[in-house]
């Protein structure tokens, strides 16, 4: 083919795609041009597969119980997903270190098989299916977040494999009449309530509150419960607005909020959403010079990222927490107390545990005691044992109502003070006073 171009002084790839050389072009694109594509695709495959290979899991032998979980290790809830994974891993490590789970005369070691669902609920459901059918897991631990849990629980129900989830709190999860789903965490309605109670316990409580919420089912459920609770307890809800879940800019909502309390800024701003939106809200409040007396977010302040991304602006912010290391429970499990859990967790991972980690560990504990009580690894018997479970652990009471929700455990209110998370409510377990009012954001 080269001779065709001998009369041209230009290098081959500079040739125009005109009539006389089109035959060459079409062939060369198949041979000459495809190499980089092949190389790139190989690289891509390599990258995609390392994502999967990185996922753990030991081959299940006859004396190993395999627990499966799809977790969001990348994507919008990657931070929370990693904390969830660490919680599961710590339980696996400790239960094996303490001799495994004893069922009758057999002792089982525990192994975890997990995949990254990329924060996509649909992917999470596919992976749940894969865990059950291809990996043949014995039991399922939950994914991170309500949306994914809603998808996955349907798969668990279809295959009649019990799932104990630790990171989906919406009522919707437990109102579908499913029998194989159990959640160790307090339900969504508690998230905002505990912070509003903390605010109302102040000598001069906030009079007006603005509630903004992401429009996913969990956040909206929290926000509606918050609105009802606030208005029935003498606080005026001057602004209530939902925004698209995962919004990157909230200036529109915050601008409207700024003059909502009879022309002024409301005393309290309550955000019901996710960590990224909580950080965005705080950043934009500062940019737009919005100074409420109290900022509270249902999800966000309890995660370490919140403090590192906001620096001093994170101070004074309230958060609700499923669990804090300051709580005083005397558990029957090998962690025993929240303080001891914190110590072991720090030794293992080098940073403080968040409530996401603690509740994930608790999900493992629920399985551990249910399997022991059942005296069997039969999914149906373990399910029945879970339904009857009533234990106190380092995480608090684990006991499920008829729908599978743990309505027996209270939540706590935390506040960030000097870059540290402290518990401020309920008073019995608080290790610091609630600081109020918040100084203006520009004076930090």
């Amino acid at each position: 083919m080269i001779h065709l171009f001998s009369y041209l002084h230009l290098p081959r790839r500079h040739l125009a795609h005109t009539g006389h050389d089109s035959s060459f072009q079409s062939r060369s694109s198949a041979t000459h041009l495809s190499l980089p594509i092949i190389l790139l695709s190989l690289l891509l495959i390599l990258f995609c597969s390392t994502g999967l290979l990185a996922c753990g899991g030991t081959a299940s032998s006859s004396n190993t119980l395999l627990f499966g979980a799809p977790i969001s290790l990348t994507g919008s809830t990657a931070t929370e997903g990693h904390l969830t994974l660490e919680g599961y891993q710590l339980w696996v490590k400790e239960v094996n270190a303490h001799g495994g789970i004893k069922v009758g005369n057999t002792t089982y070691q525990v192994a975890l098989k997990y995949y990254d669902d990329g924060s996509s609920p649909t992917r999470s459901a596919q992976l749940t299916q894969q865990l059950i059918t291809a990996d043949k897991v014995n039991f399922l631990l939950g994914p991170y977040g309500t949306s994914a849990t809603l998808q996955d629980e349907a798969i668990a129900e279809r295959y009649k494999i019990p799932m104990v989830e630790a990171n989906g709190a919406a009522k919707a999860i437990f109102s579908r009449g499913f029998h194989y789903i159990f959640g160790v965490l307090s339900p969504a309605s508690e998230y905002a309530k505990v912070m509003l109670e903390a605010a109302l316990s102040l000598p001069t409580p906030p009079q007006t509150v603005a509630i903004i919420s992401a429009n996913d089912s969990f956040s909206e459920e929290v926000a509606t419960a918050a609105r009802d609770f606030a208005s029935s307890h003498g606080m005026e809800v001057v602004y209530y607005q939902t925004y698209p879940s995962g919004a990157t800019d909230l200036t529109g909502v915050l601008t409207a909020l700024k003059t909502s309390a009879h022309g002024g800024v409301p005393d309290m701003l309550l955000g019901s959403g996710h960590e990224s939106e909580a950080v965005t809200t705080m950043k934009e409040c500062k940019q737009l010079n919005i100074n409420a007396k109290l900022y509270a977010f249902t999800v966000g302040p309890a995660t370490p990222d919140f403090i590192t991304s906001l620096g001093p602006d994170a101070n004074y912010v309230l958060g609700s927490s499923q669990w804090t290391p300051q709580e005083r429970y005397q558990g029957i499990d090998f962690f025993g107390t929240p303080a001891n859990y914190e110590r072991i967790y720090k030794q293992t991972f080098g940073h403080e545990p968040s409530y996401q980690s603690a509740e994930s560990t608790a999900a493992g504990l629920a399985f551990q005691y249910a399997i022991q009580n059942a005296g069997s690894i039969d999914p149906q018997k373990v399910r029945d044992a879970l339904a009857r479970l009533n234990i106190t652990t380092f995480y608090g009471v684990i006991r499920f109502d008829a729908t599978g929700a743990n309505t027996f455990k209270p939540m706590a209110t935390i506040q960030i003070q000097n870059g540290q998370v402290v518990t401020v409510y309920p008073k019995e377990i608080a290790n610091a006073q609630l600081l109020y009012p918040t100084p203006p954001l520009s004076q930090r």
Partner: protein, 312 residues
């Protein structure tokens, strides 16, 4: 209408005391102009690459990501302010864009549209994964000493950092426009965009022009990223969001001139800041509104608001 009516019931509307609402309208307009200009910066490089090379660069968001993380890294490690470090970030991204173009994209430039689509999609995954390997998936954010500063007139507040970002965005648009119109190299880029073969016959090195164009596109994406990371929290999964936005903005504004990106950015910003505050419409609809606008533009003015047949 029924849906809107039902939806508006529980939502408390803005208080319409006259003074307050006048200030509110002023604030909303300020928000709109600032955000719209910032969106112009997000789409500028995308528009250039698409207009000149006819490549829908799906890796655009990844370049924004690299820009954001470069600025973050420079701020935390070297204590360079994101705005002052902008030339540095742009230079780095220019080199990255140049190399990517010269090594990978130049080889498939004449292949069917789908091949460049796939290649840039692959690059997007690759770059985003590398960023995640280096910086983890943790959310990052820059807090400068002057964040929170601004001009205050009554309840009207103009944040300093957003104003600066918007000004830089307009400046970049003007600079790109001048560069393309007034300089020899710029004219060569335009000529290549109009007719590749004729441009080659005039002695223009097409591969170099393409590498330069792609480098410029990446540099502009980097600038947008550096400004975004100062204003919003950032994580490696966000590249795709900005690619999609750049795409909508360019379709809205039209190819063919850098000012098209600004026009598109302002229209997109309108859908995100002003329209959601109108009675009966909540912020939940902003994406729907932006895409509805895009469909309308495609039906009634397929070239976009300021679009021309050629990038000129």
């Amino acid at each position: 209408m029924l849906v809107l009516a039902v939806r508006s019931l529980p939502v408390r509307r803005l208080p319409f005391h006259r003074e307050v609402s006048a200030m509110l309208i002023a604030q909303v307009i300020v928000n709109w102009l600032l955000l719209g200009s910032l969106y112009a910066a997000v789409a500028l490089g995308f528009s250039l690459v698409w207009g000149i090379m006819n490549i829908v660069n799906l890796a655009h968001g990844a370049f924004i990501l690299v820009g954001a993380y470069t600025a973050y890294w420079a701020f935390t490690q070297l204590h360079i302010d994101p705005f002052l470090g902008l030339p540095l970030t742009m230079l780095l991204l220019f080199c990255l864009g140049w190399v990517v173009q010269y090594v990978a994209i130049n080889r498939v430039i004449r292949a069917p549209f789908l091949v460049t689509f796939l290649l840039t999609f692959g690059l997007d995954l690759l770059i985003a994964d590398v960023v995640q390997l280096l910086f983890t998936s943790d959310r990052r954010s820059i807090n400068t000493a002057y964040s929170g500063f601004g001009l205050t007139l009554g309840t009207l507040h103009i944040p300093f950092d957003r104003l600066l970002a918007a000004l830089i965005a307009v400046l970049l648009t003007a600079a790109l426009s001048l560069f393309l119109q007034r300089t020899r190299t710029g004219n060569a880029i335009l000529a290549t965009g109009m007719d590749r073969d004729a441009a080659r016959l005039m002695g223009i090195r097409i591969d170099r022009i393409y590498a330069l164009t792609f480098g410029l596109g990446a540099a502009l994406a980097g600038a947008a990223g550096a400004m975004l990371v100062e204003l919003y929290p950032f994580d490696p999964s966000q590249g795709g969001v900005f690619t999609l936005r750049a795409f909508v903005i360019v379709v809205l504004g039209g190819l063919g001139t850098p000012w098209g990106a600004l026009a598109g950015g302002l229209v997109f910003g309108l859908a995100e800041t002003v329209v959601p505050l109108l009675p009966g419409i909540g912020p939940g609809y902003d994406d729907a509104i932006a895409f509805a606008l895009m469909v309308l533009v495609l039906i009634f003015r397929p070239r976009g608001i300021l679009g021309k047949a050629f990038y000129a």
